[in-house]
Amino acid sequence: MPVTGVTSDLDALTLTIRAEFAAPPERVWQIYADPRQLERVWGPPTHPATFVTHEFRPGGRAHYFMTSPEGERYYGWWALTAVDEPKSFAFDDGFAADDTFAPVEGMPVSRNLYTFASTDIGTQAVFESVYESVEGLRKVLEMGVVEGASSAINQIDALLA
């Protein structure tokens, strides 16, 4: 089980995932540096991701879309704020309305920091995402990323609690 820890801070709207991989940071880094590898891990199997732009350097941008089972596309962008190969990179992640990939005004942007440290086993990865607001978090999840069924079930849980 590669996930070694999950911390969520409800007040700071931050999710931190720790995972251990049996490969050195240089190899894990390649997954993020190579858009063809990245699109194999980014979107869930139901919503595969396609990266059309991938400027993996500080100040660079990445443009991607995820395709729903019905063929609907959800567009997103990254703005890379820091890239320190193979140790860490930071980026803002937001939505776009269409294939111009222009950020949508008023749509949530998350701030992300991914770090990779060398260990005896391979790599200790820490993925941290900070959301601006509850509304933003909700939109991220409803953007076709998570299957609607699980959201609906959670909603029912909340009502019955």
């Binding site: 996930v3 709207l13 995932i17 891990v41 509304e135 409803e142």
Partner: protein, 114 residues
């Protein structure tokens, strides 16, 4: 007692509304962005009236909010009102667990190739 009945009625309406595939699909769309009922109707292989009926069911269940703009009727998802932050973060955690499993699978391919 009366309060309990109202709450039960609300839950009935909610379950009823979510028990239909088209309505769940409409809800997904209007959670992402506000849609006019006619735009929604165009997305399905069914009549405008049938789609309007589905929208009305979602509205009664409190899952969407409707407003008018000129001749158009606009619908927007309202699920945020009843979802807790904890459940949102746990959905996100699920996405991450999936991603990490996929990274692991991708890294395992290297070993197979060697």
């Amino acid at each position: 007692m009366a309060t309990a009945t109202i709450e039960e009625d609300r839950i009935d309406a909610l379950f009823g509304a979510l028990a239909d595939r088209t309505r769940r699909d409409i809800l997904r769309r209007v959670l992402v962005a506000e849609h006019s009922v006619s735009a929604l109707a165009a997305a399905y292989d069914m009549s405008f009236a049938a789609v309007q009926k589905h929208v009305a069911v979602l509205d009664r269940a409190g899952l969407i909010a409707k407003r008018r703009r000129g001749r158009e009727q606009l619908a927007r998802g309202e699920v945020g009102a009843v979802r807790s932050v904890a459940s949102l973060l746990s959905d996100l955690e699920e996405l991450w667990r999936g991603r990490i499993t996929r990274i692991d699978d991708l890294l395992a391919e290297d070993i197979t190739k060697e």
